[in-house]
C-alpha cells in the first residue's frame, strides 16, 4: 500500500510557512479503505494533513475528502453528536467522529479510522445499517397503551416516573454500542445493546402497557441473556447512556417481573 506523503502546501488550510505560533500540527490519518468497484480487499491508507488539534476527527476526514481524495466515503450530517451518522472505530474504539477532538486521541501517532464492526462494510466507512434497525424494530419501540378511548388531555406522569427512563431516551441510534459488543461481532442475530436500550425506554415508562411483551421478546435466545457485561457499550456510548446498567435492569425485570 502506497503511503501518500503530501507537500505542506498541498494540505488543507495549511498555515503560511514560517508562521511561528501556528496552532496547526501534522497528523497522520490511517484509514481503512474498501471499494468493491476496485478491489475485493480492504486496505489501510495513510493521509498526512495540517490540522488544528482542537478540531474534530470529522474535520480531518472532510479535509481529506474535500482537498485530497474525493473518493473517501463516510456518512455525516449534523457534526455535533446529535444525528448519529458518523459512528466509526477510531484508534480501536467506537466513537462519533464529530465528538472526538484530535487533541484527545494522541495525534503523535497515526490515528486509525475504520468502519464499525459486525455490520456489512459497503464502502470505506459506510456499513449496512439495516440489520441494526431490524433489531430496533423487533423490540416494538413505540408506546403501547390498552385504553380504548384516548384521554382528551395529556397522560399524567410524575417527575419521578419520568426520571426512571430518562437515561435511555437519549439514544440516537448511532450503533456505536451495538458494534462495540464482542458478542455482536460474531453473532449479529443478538439484539445488541441499542435495541435493548430502546426496549428499556418503554418497559420503564409508566405510561406504557406492553412491558411484558417486550420482556418476552428479550427473553429469547438472542435477547438480553447473551450480554456478557463487558461494558464496551457503556464506554462507546457518545451520549453517556449507562447501557450495561440498562441491560442489567432488563435482566432483573425479567427475573422479578417488576418494572
Amino acid at each position: 500500500m502506497a503511503t501518500p506523503v503530501l507537500d505542506k502546501s498541498d494540505a488543507a488550510g495549511s498555515p503560511e510557512p514560517g508562521f511561528a505560533d501556528s496552532p496547526y500540527i501534522t497528523v497522520t490519518m490511517r484509514i481503512r479503505r474498501f471499494n468493491p468497484e476496485i478491489s475485493a480487499d480492504a486496505v489501510w491508507e495513510d493521509f498526512q494533513l495540517e490540522i488544528d488539534p482542537k478540531e474534530r476527527v470529522l474535520d480531518a476526514l472532510h479535509k481529506i475528502k474535500w482537498d485530497l481524495d474525493g473518493t473517501l466515503t463516510f456518512r455525516r450530517s449534523c457534526a455535533h453528536g446529535i444525528c448519529g451518522s458518523d459512528a466509526m472505530r477510531i484508534n480501536g474504539k467506537n466513537r462519533l467522529a464529530c465528538k472526538t477532538l484530535i487533541k484527545d486521541i494522541n495525534p503523535e501517532k497515526p490515528i486509525t479510522v475504520e468502519a464499525i464492526k459486525g455490520l456489512t462494510v459497503l464502502k470505506d466507512l459506510v456499513v449496512d445499517m439495516e440489520p441494526f434497525f431490524q433489531a430496533y424494530r423487533d423490540v416494538m419501540p413505540f408506546l403501547i397503551t390498552k385504553d380504548t378511548n384516548e384521554p382528551t388531555r395529556e397522560r399524567l406522569q410524575s417527575a419521578e416516573d419520568r426520571e426512571r427512563f430518562d437515561d435511555t431516551t437519549k439514544c440516537i441510534l448511532c450503533a456505536a454500542c451495538t458494534s462495540s459488543c464482542p458478542v455482536f461481532w460474531n453473532d449479529g442475530q443478538y439484539f445488541g445493546p441499542a435495541a435493548i436500550v430502546n426496549a428499556h425506554r418503554f418497559i420503564f415508562d409508566s405510561r406504557d402497557e406492553a412491558g411484558e411483551q417486550r420482556l418476552e421478546i428479550l427473553n429469547d435466545r438472542d435477547g438480553v441473556w447473551r450480554c456478557r457485561t463487558t461494558f464496551n457499550c457503556t464506554d462507546a456510548c457518545p451520549r453517556g447512556i449507562e447501557v450495561t446498567k440498562a441491560i442489567a435492569e432488563v435482566k432483573r425485570a425479567l427475573i422479578t417481573r417488576r418494572y
Binding site: N35, Q134, V183, Q189
Partner: protein, 160 residues
C-alpha cells in the same frame, strides 16, 4: 496518491486490479451472521433465563462445594498424602458425602458445559463448526455425568 486511485486509472498491472469494475463490483465484506427480517426465529421459551440463573446459583453453590472438597482432600488431616482407595471408600460409605460429590459432579459439569456453550455461541463463526463443537461438548458432558453418577451409586468398597 494511493494505490486505489492508481487502479482506478488503470495505470500499471496491480494484482487483481482488472477483476472488478464499477459494473462488476467485488462482494462486500460481510460479518459472520446478521439479523434479517426473518431471523432470528422466536422461540418464546424461558431456557436462556433459566440457564442464566442456573449459572449464578450453581456458581455460588459450587464455591462452597469445591472449596470444601479441596480443604478435605488437600489440607485437613495430613493433606494430600492421606488420599488413597481406603480414604475414598470410607467417605463414600456415608450418604452425605455421596450426595456432596454427586452434586458437585452434576453442577460442575452442567455449569462448565453451559459456559462452553456460550463460548461456542460467541466465538465459533461457521455454522458447521458450531454444530460439531456443540455435539462434542454435549456428548462429553453426558458421558462424564453418566459415568460419574454410575460410579458413585455402584461403588463397591470390596472390589479388588
Amino acid at each position: 496518491m494511493s494505490t486505489t486511485e492508481t487502479n482506478a486509472a488503470g495505470i500499471g498491472p496491480v494484482e487483481g486490479a482488472s477483476l472488478y469494475s464499477v459494473d462488476n463490483p467485488a462482494p462486500v465484506i460481510e460479518p459472520p451472521r446478521k439479523r434479517t427480517k426473518k431471523t432470528p426465529k422466536s422461540t418464546r421459551g424461558n431456557f436462556e433465563l433459566a440457564a442464566w440463573l442456573f449459572m449464578r446459583l450453581s456458581g455460588v453453590v459450587l464455591v462452597v462445594l469445591v472449596i470444601g472438597h479441596l480443604l478435605i482432600q488437600l489440607v485437613l488431616d495430613g493433606g494430600v498424602s492421606k488420599i488413597g482407595f481406603a480414604f475414598v471408600a470410607g467417605r463414600w460409605a456415608s450418604p452425605f458425602w455421596q450426595v456432596w460429590d454427586l452434586l458437585m459432579l452434576w453442577l460442575a459439569m452442567l455449569h462448565g458445559a453451559n459456559g462452553l456453550r456460550t463460548v461456542i455461541n460467541d466465538y465459533a463463526e461457521r455454522p458447521n463448526i458450531r454444530l460439531w463443537l456443540k455435539g462434542l461438548l454435549y456428548t462429553a458432558t453426558v458421558f462424564t455425568i453418566l459415568l460419574g453418577t454410575l460410579v458413585i451409586f455402584t461403588f463397591d468398597p470390596n472390589i479388588r
